[in-house]
Symmetry: C2
Subunit: 241 residues, 2 copies
């Protein structure tokens, strides 16, 4: 049930466990199979699967972005992960899906049946180990997010979130100081356990303090990475570069 290896949440937080993280699936039997897997296209807001659906595939995002979340009957929503191209979704599901996966924009994924995955893992115990490790990392990411949501202030959460996105951009070989937010304020809010208003206010505050810059609401430039890191840790802002 979640984006493996490159998940945004993965390194949300202080300990930056994730810098040791590398693409798991490359050169894997898994990746090879996926390369020939069924392609599925999703429109913006279309669901890849929903809470309660029987889980019978894993997916790799090829193009676009997917939001993994869970809802309460009364409408409260918890976003659990954001999947980027290359990320694998649906690992860890036993029986039914416990979360829903929705395309945040026009998105293409490749699907692979769980049965096939099981066969591969049976045949190649190294793959089994990798899947296990991938799941471990998911677990760490989930706990990191738990920590963030449970213990940090709004400003600290946003700072940690932006830093996680920055590190992710870096890992993907993109500019870590300037990247696009594929998610809406609502997604961010539901991810961090805040309201859209608080997300917005906190971002504008960071902008006014010249820690970041924002264009078109979606293009983030990190101007003072040090200040942002300091903030994420719980320190006061002050003018670090």
């Amino acid at each position: 049930m979640l984006a493996t290896s490159f998940a945004a949440t993965s390194d949300l937080g202080v300990h930056a466990l994730t810098d040791e993280r590398m693409p798991l699936y490359e050169r894997d039997a898994l990746a090879e199979r996926l390369a020939h897997g069924t392609v599925r296209s999703l429109k913006t807001k279309e669901h890849l699967f929903c809470e309660g659906d029987v889980a019978n595939h894993v997916y790799r995002v090829e193009v676009g972005h997917i939001c993994i979340y869970r809802m309460m009957p009364d409408g409260r929503r918890q976003v659990v992960d954001f999947a980027y191209p290359g990320d694998i979704i649906g690992l860890g599901a036993l029986g039914d899906h416990a979360d829903s996966a929705q395309a945040m924009e026009a998105t293409i994924v490749r699907a692979m049946p769980l049965a096939t995955l099981r066969e591969l893992a049976q045949a190649d115990s190294r793959l089994g180990m990798k899947l296990y490790e991938a799941l471990s990392r998911e677990l760490m990411a989930a706990r990191e997010l738990l920590f963030t949501v449970s213990q940090r202030t709004a400003a600290e959460r946003i700072a940690a979130f932006l830093l996680a996105l920055s590190r992710r951009a870096e890992r993907r070989g993109e500019n870590p100081h300037e990247f696009v937010l594929p998610m809406t304020r609502m997604d961010i809010a539901d991810f961090l356990g805040l309201t859209i208003e608080t997300v917005s206010r906190t971002l504008t505050k960071l902008r006014h303090d010249h820690v970041i810059d924002l264009e078109q609401c979606i293009l983030v430039s990190i101007k003072k990475p040090g200040a942002l890191a300091q903030l994420a840790q719980g320190g006061d802002i002050r003018s670090r570069n």
Copy 2:
């Protein structure tokens, strides 16, 4: 990195995923090996391992209770799990431990080297699958807790927590409507992302509303399970039985 299969957190929450849960390790090669594993005794507050320690064993709690948590440099603490007798700790650790494990009282565990675990999994692919499933459940539990902490009010969190403990008691063949809290208010607070004062106040409120009863601060009797469940869901209390 966590208490498998019987973890208290496991079913914290609405969807009660956990009722499908059964003891994983019974009749396993794992359980057999553990039965002959090294015994280790811990005094109250003694650590089994700390954040940053190299992870080279998994442990099964035999007697007592263990608290798994993570700390920030400034002292903020997030409790991630409570391990009961039968629970397995330390699965999912890759390299170093990301959490600390501390005995909440005089506790006995059995240890098994990770190397042995890997061998066993290599030899018996069913065991590998079980470990994978155990980890999946940990992940679900972590997300359930995330959801609880992120979206629920203090009263809802406490209600969900008590219900989780109740279900756990039931699974262990104990009285689900009367059980002892092995953890302090501080542990509960750090688990649910609240302060000890709020935990205390919320418990006394539940007592005054005759939803629960409390003796010696540690013996909980659930008087109105329905009201508690209602509350956990986000509904108002009202006098359900």
